[in-house]
């Protein structure tokens, strides 16, 4: 009781989630027979893993890539591929996010980097500013679904029977499907505000593709080497950092040695906000398991829900609601240790369930009042939250439709992992 009150009160007054959880544990310890040293012991154990190192390293690789001037090259590549289509610049926006997904893996970084370029240029081509901002935020959600993805690594770490490579593969088709759905929506259902665009000539196209291949090699290498079993995700992340450094410093030459201290410090700071929640949630889970709470919840849920379909519908509703009020990774860390075993008990494929959870929580990035991508896009567009919310609604519905498809057609998610023998 005192644990729950402490946790909720601290969360409500705006304390960092990790601090609220840690102080909730302190409240629990103070009423029981455990020693206070159990808290640091469990926090330390929660971080004492080689696989977790992949998180700060992928964050660092993404930050380095963002600072290396890849944004314009990614946009040029997407422009060469889809810029000639109807609503061309809107299509380029969507497919730039797909390419960016393999490089940064962060939806917020994607919104910020791509939004700065697309929102003004789409407006210049005749699109309404709020539409451009909403599309940028909506397409950024693809980032954490397509590998390499930090939420995927975290999911694999907090569950026992899902591997990082399997989840990486499982995210590819849903991510691309989401991009196709957004493209189709923009192509057929949006009034074409845009002025006609000039087509790129063949020489420009070849140059754009060539320049785009350099950053694209990174995700191809990372995913390829992990799938081939040559490297672990952590080792692949270190190669990604090395590659991003070489590309930024010596190939594109847009990264200056003087930029590196701030990039390294920022990457560790941002990673630590995730790592400390992981560690405190791992500690909380230890205490909850000791108290038999996950088993009790599981028994309770399984007493009422015996069909995987019903469970998945309930999970989608619950996660969408949670995504409205809690940051995606924090929500995942808190809920997955309880929900994942129930899904397994009901015979749901663990990889399929993992992607459903990640997809749901990433939609939370564009839903008010906590949608981070919505805030970032509005900070660039400056159209006000009310207009942003109105503009994001059609994209939210498109994303919801894709979520329902991947929920009820598991083959879309499990096809690639099955093909590669995971």
């Amino acid at each position: 009781m005192i644990t729950g009150v402490t946790l909720l009160a601290l969360l409500a007054i705006g304390a960092p989630v990790a601090f609220a959880i840690a102080l909730g544990i302190v409240a629990y310890i103070s009423t029981g027979t455990f020693g206070i040293d159990l808290l640091p012991q469990r926090i330390f154990a929660g971080m004492d893993s080689f696989t977790i190192l992949a998180i700060p390293l992928f964050v660092l690789a993404g930050e380095l890539m963002n600072a290396s001037g890849i944004t314009s090259r990614v946009i040029n590549l997407a422009n060469a591929l889809v810029g000639h289509a109807k609503a061309g610049l809107a299509q380029v926006n969507i497919w730039s996010s797909v390419i960016f997904a393999g490089l940064s893996g962060s939806a917020v970084a994607d919104t910020s980097a791509i939004g700065r370029i697309f929102i003004p240029s789409m407006e210049k081509e005749g699109y309404p500013r709020d539409f451009a901002a909403a599309l940028t935020a909506a397409s950024s959600v693809i980032g954490p679904i397509i590998p390499p993805s930090i939420p995927v690594i975290i999911y694999a770490l907090i569950t026992t029977n899902v591997s990082v490579p399997a989840l990486f593969l499982a995210g590819i088709v849903p991510g691309v499907l989401l991009a196709i759905a957004l493209s189709v929506y923009v192509r057929f259902f949006v009034k074409n505000h845009a002025k006609p665009r000039e087509r790129m000539n063949m020489g420009e196209k070849i140059k754009a593709v060539w320049n785009g291949l350099i950053p694209l090699f990174m995700p191809v290498f990372v995913i390829g080497s992990i799938l081939a079993g040559i490297v672990t995700p952590t080792e692949a992340a270190s190669f990604a950092v090395f590659y991003a450094l070489v590309v930024g410093l010596f190939v594109f030459r847009e990264l200056k040695p003087g930029d590196l201290p701030a990039i390294f410090a920022g990457a560790m700071r941002d990673s630590s906000s995730i790592l400390i929640i992981m560690a405190t949630v791992a500690a909380a889970n230890w205490f909850m398991t000791f108290a038999g709470i996950p088993q009790t919840v599981s028994k309770f849920v399984l007493g009422y829900v015996d069909s995987p379909v019903t469970f998945l519908i309930l999970i989608n509703l619950m996660l969408l609601a949670v995504g409205l009020v809690l940051e995606g990774i924090a929500a995942m860390l808190v809920l997955v240790p309880i929900l994942h075993p129930i899904a397994i008990s009901l015979g749901i494929d663990p990889t399929h369930f993992g992607i459903i959870v990640i997809f749901n929580l990433m939609i939370g990035l564009i839903t008010p009042p906590m949608g981070l991508c919505l805030f970032v896009a509005d900070a660039i567009a400056g159209v006000g939250m009310a207009r942003m919310i109105r503009a994001i609604m059609p994209f939210f519905i498109v994303e919801l439709a894709v979520l329902l498809i991947i929920t009820f057609v598991p083959g879309i998610v499990t096809f690639l992992p099955d093909l590669f023998g995971f």
Partner: protein, 160 residues
């Protein structure tokens, strides 16, 4: 007070950056050594893990001072600014308490269980486990600076 806070932020930024540099350097060197020279570095995994734990501890205080920790802001966002400033003082006080508990409990933990020798690097685990105490102390200093800054601004009638 602001100058002290800025200097402390720079220190935490430097230590955080150094930690992730060590993590990257060691993991990359270990991977290269394993794949190119077929000679794995026995110590690399442990050094990288413990550098990350230290980095996380510095980074937590740094993120807290920068206001980039993940929070649940839906309730506080609806509250008037004056009350929000008062709640921020309670959050800072709670952070001070948490930092103190982590510093003390981390020391008890390292003292109790730190005698084991890490197999790869051959040092006592105490030196890795004491990172939690270091993190607690960093958080205490950060919370004191934030509280002092809030109280200072409140007493001079400025914005907190």
């Amino acid at each position: 007070m602001q100058r002290t806070e800025n200097a402390y932020k720079r220190l935490l930024a430097g230590l955080s950056g150094l930690s992730i540099l060590i993590v990257f350097g060691v993991v990359f060197a270990g991977s290269v050594s394993r794949y190119l020279f077929s000679s794995p570095l026995q110590w690399s995994e442990e050094i990288a893990k413990y550098a990350m734990i230290y980095g996380c501890m510095f980074g937590v205080a740094y993120a807290y001072l920068q206001g980039t920790q993940i929070t649940f802001s839906i309730v506080v966002d609806t509250i008037p600014a004056r009350i929000r400033r008062k709640l921020a003082i309670i959050v800072d006080a709670a952070t001070l308490v948490l930092g103190g508990i982590l510093a003390y409990a981390g020391y008890v933990f390292a003292a109790k269980r730190g005698g084991i020798v890490a197999s790869g690097i051959g040092i006592q685990m105490y030196w890795a486990q004491i990172a939690i105490t270091v993190g607690g102390v960093c958080l205490v200093i950060a919370a004191i600076l934030r509280l002092a800054s809030c109280l200072n601004k409140n007493s001079t009638g400025g914005e907190a």
